[in-house]
């Protein structure tokens, strides 16, 4: 599904990712952990095609396509979704309208018919109930006046509606209380199936109590320095990142 080979990438004019390799197969959940500033968000932004991140070497293939050649909205159409570490506010644009615009734009990209507002509303209500989130999320302007937790939940809700084939969650668990964390984890688990993959960027092991990863990778200084099973996350929790340098 996703093949990252020997990637070197800059954020702004700073070299961040250094010779990074990662392979994600359909249905797999990969957790990426690592200290602040190690390049986790840069990796997510690179995959999503955010303009301030640029690959200087290496390749990224997604479902056989050269991902780096695609515009960000094309990548979304191909099924790449990024839950942002800091979701953005868009005043005056209601969440539901925003999502329908996105949903229809992705369908159009794939050569599929758009959906009308009534049909969309039904679908979205159904999803929001399944996620145990509140309806008022739909009417409010995108992320405006949302609490930190609400913003993160909104990302998960958007993911549930857009049904990506690769979802990258960038610290979606940060700043959440345990109930919110469960809602987020539940959202991911509901979507898990044999064709859909996840890259879960997180700082803490606790999210992984609820979302069981197939692999855990440790990112340090722009490189994956260690990979393992979910046991690795527990070791990190106990010992911190310091022992990796030793």
């Amino acid at each position: 599904m996703l093949e990252i080979k020997n990637i070197h990438a800059k954020a702004g004019d700073k070299n961040i990712l250094k010779n990074l390799n990662l392979s994600v197969k359909p249905g797999e959940v990969h957790a990426i952990m690592g200290p602040n500033g190690s390049g986790k968000s840069t990796l997510g932004n690179l995959l999503a095609g955010m303009p301030h991140v640029e690959a200087t070497e290496g390749s990224v293939h997604f479902k056989g396509k050269n991902l780096l050649e695609l515009e960000p909205e094309e990548r979304a159409g191909e099924g790449v979704f990024l839950a942002f570490q800091y979701p953005v506010e868009i005043p005056g644009v209601n969440n539901m309208y925003f999502l329908r615009t996105a949903y229809n734009a992705q369908r159009k990209y794939r050569g599929e018919e758009g959906i009308d507002s009534a049909g969309f509303l039904r679908m979205v209500k159904d999803k929001i109930n399944k996620l145990h989130m509140k309806d008022d999320l739909l009417k409010r302007p995108v992320n405006v006046g949302f609490s930190g937790g609400e913003k993160k939940r909104n990302e998960v809700f958007q993911m549930a509606v857009l049904e990506p084939s690769l979802a990258i969650l960038d610290e979606t668990d940060s700043g959440l209380d345990i109930d919110a964390l469960k809602i987020v984890a539940d959202g991911v688990n509901q979507l898990r199936d044999s064709n859909r993959s996840f890259i879960i960027i997180t700082h803490y092991q606790r999210l992984l109590d609820y979302i069981e990863p197939d692999y855990v990778h440790v990112l340090a200084d722009g490189q994956i320095v260690k990979s393992g099973s979910k046991k690795l996350a527990l070791e990190l929790e106990e010992q911190g990142y310091g022992w990796l340098d030793a």
Binding site: P72, A76, F84, V88, P91, V93, A102, G145
Partner: protein, 489 residues
């Protein structure tokens, strides 16, 4: 006090300038009677004679003209205005069929003119009229027809062209003309008072809620002419009217002058809602041609608890110089100004409002959204003045600018003058910034750039659009999208 929120959207695609599609830019080939260019007292006598005006009105014009000659051209706005040759402009142009006797019914209007309005989406004919909206159609210097007159007359509402009002209701015109915007007010107001040709007249009697939306559609068609319209709206005690104006002009390389004056008078507990969708030809992508739009609009809240609300969506004109204002004389009166001004290519806009608080407990609200694209310059200029006796006056101002690209400019000039300690001039922080992050967020969700910008801009303008009558809000959004076209490559 004012709050300013400025942000820049710029990225690799924000390069190519607009090649705007101005679908209203066509010319209607009809015979017209246009007086030769030039401006002196004889020109004014000629206009007045063509309109068979009473002596007092001719005197009014001539006095204004004499004042105008003494006035310097204003240079305080942040605008680069090329010198205007007032002798090169024709001050009166009328379709031939209309020239002598005003058609009594729309059936007598030249079919080509009817067709023009149809093409502009403002059908005048009985069968196709916009439901619930009465239209006065002004074509160059004259009104060619007004719809729904009978229905309005039954409610006691007078809605007719200004010229007709002079003939049929001279006492009203004489009583109110120039009381809110006196001829000496400013350079362009004086010019208008001297040479104004046509516009709309509205009178809403006491205790009357105008049964439908009123609107005027201004169309410049002839070349080398200026349009100098005059609009007067009087709302008696406890009445309500919602009025909307729209305007367009053919695409031409020459610049054409439009200098209008609008006066509103709201008596006790009267409420006037005045909306503008300004779409004059803005010039081409190199800044060639376009309308110079120099307009004086002012409302007087004369009575207690009266209310005047201005809403404007300004996307057209090469140069816009316009400050719809409220004089809040009645105690507890309120004034509102909601504005979206979008400039693209080489357009320049200097627009805003004045809220003059004279009465006690008067209240004003100013929401201004400026969007600059291309190489355009967009300024907000506002004054809030609180007179000594205006106890407990309140103002809220919010001023947001959005820049798309790096070659445009946004400027804010808020002025306040308060002579009363109890006045409360406040601002609220705007909730969020418009930024490249927003664009990226939309892109990541699969929304292509052009659609994303339109979505963000629409959201940015929401506070203003929601003040427009429904059908016009849709039009305003569409207009904004067209004006944004080419904002990205």
């Amino acid at each position: 006090m004012s709050e300013r929120n400025e942000a820049v959207i710029d990225n690799k695609l924000v390069r190519q300038r607009a090649s705007e599609r101005y679908k209203e830019g066509f010319y209607t080939n009809i015979e017209s009677i246009t007086i030769p260019p030039g401006l002196d007292e004889d020109t004014i006598r000629l206009i007045s004679a063509k309109k068979k005006e009473p002596e007092w009105l001719l005197e009014y014009r001539l006095n204004a003209f004499r004042e105008w000659l003494k006035m310097p051209t204003p240079d305080w706005a942040k605008l680069n205005v090329p010198e205007i040759d007032f002798q090169a402009i024709s001050y009166y142009s009328s379709p031939k069929t209309k020239a002598e006797n005003a058609p009594k019914s729309l059936d007598e209007v030249d079919p080509k003119i009817l067709e023009t309005y149809e093409k502009l989406g403002v059908p005048l004919h009985e069968r196709e009229r916009l439901a619930g909206v009465a239209v006065d159609a002004v074509f160059d210097s004259v009104s060619v027809g007004t719809t729904f007159r009978k229905e309005l007359a039954e409610a006691g509402v007078i809605f007719c062209s200004f010229s007709e009002a002079v003939q049929d209701h001279p006492e009203l015109v004489r009583e109110y003309l120039g009381t809110v915007v006196p001829p000496r007010d400013n350079y362009f107001a004086a010019l208008n008072a001297a040479v104004f040709s046509d516009g709309s007249f509205v009178y809403i009697p006491k205790d009357t809620r105008c049964p439908m939306e009123l609107s005027t559609y201004f169309r410049i068609n002839a070349n080398h002419t200026g349009q100098f319209e005059r609009t007067l709206i009087i709302a008696e005690d406890n009445s309500y009217v919602s009025y909307l104006e729209g305007c367009t002009a053919p695409m031409r390389d020459e610049n054409q002058l439009h200098a209008a004056v609008v006066e509103l008078i709201a008596k006790d507990e009267a409420n006037i809602k005045y909306s503008t969708v300004q779409n004059w030809y803005p010039g081409d992508e190199d800044g060639k041609g376009g309308i110079y739009n120099f307009v004086t609009k002012r409302g007087l809240c004369a009575g207690i608890k009266s209310k005047i609300s201005w809403t404007q969506v300004e996307t057209g004109s090469a140069i816009t110089w316009k400050y719809p204002s409220c004089i809040l004389r009645g105690d507890h009166s309120s004034g509102e100004f909601y504005s979206v001004a979008l400039t693209n290519n080489y357009q320049q806009a200097d627009t805003g409002t004045k809220m003059i608080h004279l009465g006690k407990n008067t209240k004003s609200t100013v929401i201004s959204k400026g969007i600059s694209v291309g190489k355009s310059q967009n300024s907000y200029r506002g004054l809030v003045r609180v007179a000594k006796r205006a106890d407990y006056a309140r103002n809220f101002t919010q001023c947001d600018s959005l820049l798309i690209g790096k070659e445009c400019g946004a400027h804010t000039f808020p002025y306040t003058e308060s002579g009363n300690m109890t006045a409360k001039l406040e601002h609220e922080a705007t909730t969020s910034k418009i930024s490249e992050d927003q664009l990226n967020y939309c892109l990541q969700r699969g929304i292509p750039e052009e659609e994303a910008i339109s979505l963000i801009v629409d959201g940015f303008c929401k506070q203003v659009f929601k003040e427009l009558p429904m059908e016009f809000a849709v039009e305003a959004k569409a207009l904004l999208d067209v004006s944004l076209e080419g904002a990205i490559g």
